[in-house]
């Protein structure tokens, strides 16, 4: 068995990565990169904003509708169900939507950048 000794710094760029960057060094390439970054940031902000809005709506709902927090379902208070279990499907749904759309943004970028 061979032992490999590697020295610092480990952060040296990977060779495959260099070619990816070189392909996009032109001015046109940079336009595509900027538009990809902008669309990914917009997507992330929209998903995060939507999630936080719904999250904020939960306690508001409990405060506005009287008696809702005293309602029990199978012996469990409704507000506990909502905050203790109801938020997780929402998180999962946001994550699924984001991953799908982010991959689509990248595919569109590949199509554009490949056409050069």
């Amino acid at each position: 068995m061979t032992r490999v000794r590697v020295t610092a710094p480990r952060s040296a760029a990977l060779p495959a990565v260099e070619s990816r960057e070189a392909a996009q060094a032109s001015e046109v390439g940079q336009v595509f990169v900027r538009s990809l970054i902008r669309s990914q940031l917009r997507l992330a902000l929209v998903v995060a904003g939507g999630f936080l809005l719904i999250l904020a709506a939960f306690p508001l709902l409990l405060a506005v509708v009287p008696g809702l927090s005293e309602t029990r379902i199978v012996g469990i208070p409704f507000n506990w169900l909502l905050l203790g279990a109801g938020i997780y499907p929402l998180i999962g749904l946001s994550a699924w939507f984001y991953v799908r759309t982010a991959a689509r943004n990248e595919a569109r970028y590949r199509d554009l950048a490949g056409d050069q």
Binding site: V4, A8, S11, Q30, N79, A95, E106
Partner: protein, 488 residues
């Protein structure tokens, strides 16, 4: 509970951890293996390992205890811990994987092309890691004291010894297997006892307490400011945790980093149902546990309280095993990432240096743990998240998404956030929890925006310092890995 059973449970977890660590050792030979498992870990393994590493003493013991004490207000803790991972997915996961860096200091150095930024980031990361290990050791001390009657220090020392042995022997490759095993152990150790308890309660028809007793301590609920500030800390703090970030480098590419994160979100969502159930069941059936001033031990004591007998002892043993898995996995994850930073920046980056650094990273917080008193676990971990959100999070978010960030801006923002949040934590510790103003108890709501603002303003003022490599690095962070040539 029976001390012999508890000690047996601890021994089994420690031996299992060491054995899996040793098994990993046989396939861990290169420096790459040591640091990031050679990036060949499968998504399910990797996601289980991330879950195992992330679910700390605060999640396993603290959340249930806090829910018992303060009810629905404490439900924001598990929600925040999970939603923090959503933010990580949205803003950090894929770009960070694509950066090709191994640690947060590697990332900031590459992005800002500055050695000084690297040093400052390393310092911050080491502080965060040490702050985060201390509550784990407090949790271990509490568990040992409650379940075996041995002195508290035995627990902290045992955790440090097992972690040092595992990390020094196998590095990250064995750590990945150990962590994945420990996620499933933790889930089983929480789920089986509480399901059994609910089954027994339903079978015997034990009546739940009437509404007034459901608030056992009569504590006033915390205000909206505290809840919002806590959420800010948890949502943004997760982004910057060093042991969480290093895990993303074990994915082969950015898209698989995203997929892994989605699996992690599922694993966390399932896990956090159970501490919530413990808190609620304790409120309805055993509110006396809150009055003994040891709410953090709720998860350990509930099976004995509500089931009792041999079945209660066995269930308690399972919970103790899970708790120890939590301390071991989070501590070893932190030690690995801290050792990576320390060995590179102080000792020159060889495997021997990594081992020495691992021991240093584990022993220093042990000293802190001896010197400080244990506060509520979920609360003290919440403060660490606030510190991370005020320092590492702004530099990561702006570094990934904003072209205008400069080295001067990054340093000014990290130092400001660190001083403000650290100052609030020290002031809070000196003043004591009882007479603490809300804005000092939960500083994230003002320290995080301040850190961001300082970083942006100083970067704007020093715009001539934007590194020449910026466009190249931004391309690397955001473009998909597959080479364009093979695409068509």
């Amino acid at each position: 509970m029976n001390p012999g059973v508890a000690i047996a449970a601890l021994a089994v977890v420690s031996v299992a951890t060491a054995v899996i660590g040793f098994y990993g050792l046989r396939i861990s030979r290169t420096t790459g293996d040591f640091y990031v498992a050679s990036r060949t870990v499968r998504p399910w393994w990797n996601a289980s390992a991330i879950g195992g590493e992330y679910l700390s003493a605060a999640s396993f013991l603290g959340v249930a205890g806090l829910i018992l004490l303060s009810g629905t207000d404490a439900l924001w803790f598990p929600v925040g811990y999970t939603a923090g991972y959503l933010m990580l997915l949205l803003f950090v996961a894929a770009p960070l994987r694509r950066s090709g860096a191994y640690t947060i200091p590697d990332f900031t150095e590459a992005r800002l092309d500055s050695r000084v930024v690297r040093k400052v980031t390393s310092l911050v990361v080491v502080v965060v890691g040490w702050l985060y290990i201390v509550p784990q050791l407090h949790g271990a001390a509490l568990t040992i004291r409650i379940t075996t009657g041995l002195p508290s220090w035995v627990g902290s020392v045992a955790v440090v010894i097992v972690v040092c042995l595992t990390v020094v022997a196998g590095g990250m490759r064995s750590i990945t297997f150990v962590q994945a095993f420990q996620y499933w152990l933790k889930l089983t150790a929480l789920a089986v006892p509480i399901l059994f308890i609910i089954f027994v309660l339903a079978g015997t028809g034990t009546p739940a307490l009437s509404a007034p007793a459901v608030n056992p301590t009569g504590l006033a609920s915390s205000g909206a400011y505290q809840n919002v500030s806590l959420l800010v800390a948890l949502l943004f703090g997760t982004l910057g945790l060093p042991h969480v970030l290093v895990r993303f480098y074990t994915n082969p590419d950015g898209q698989s980093a995203r997929r892994t994160t989605v699996i992690v979100l599922g694993l966390l969502s399932v896990f956090y149902l159970f501490p919530t159930a413990y808190g609620l069941v304790a409120r309805m059936f055993a509110p006396g546990l809150a009055r003994t001033n040891q709410a953090d031990a709720l998860v350990l004591l509930l099976p004995g309280e509500l089931v009792g007998g041999t079945a209660g002892d066995l269930l308690s043993a399972l919970v103790v095993a899970g708790a120890f898995a939590a301390f071991l996995s989070t501590t070893s994850g932190l030690v690995v990432s801290l050792a990576g930073v320390i060995s590179q920046d102080v000792l020159g980056g060889e495997v021997g240096g990594f081992r020495l650094a691992a021991v240093v990273s584990a022993v220093v917080p042990l000293g802190f743990a001896f010197m400080t008193d244990s506060m509520a676990l979920a609360g003290s971990v919440g403060l660490v998240f606030a510190f991370t959100a005020s320092t590492v999070c702004p530099v990561l978010l702006l570094g990934i998404w904003w072209r205008g960030l400069t080295d001067a801006g990054a340093i000014a923002g990290m130092v400001t956030g660190g001083l403000l949040c650290g100052g609030a934590m020290i002031a809070g510790a000196l003043a004591g929890a009882a007479n603490l103003a809300p804005w000092l108890a939960q500083p994230a709501a003002w320290t995080v925006p301040t850190a961001f603002a300082v970083m942006v303003v100083v970067s704007r003022a020093t715009a001539h310092r934007i590194p020449a490599t910026m466009a190249r690095v931004m391309t690397r962070l955001h473009t998909p890995e597959r080479p364009l040539a093979t695409e068509r």
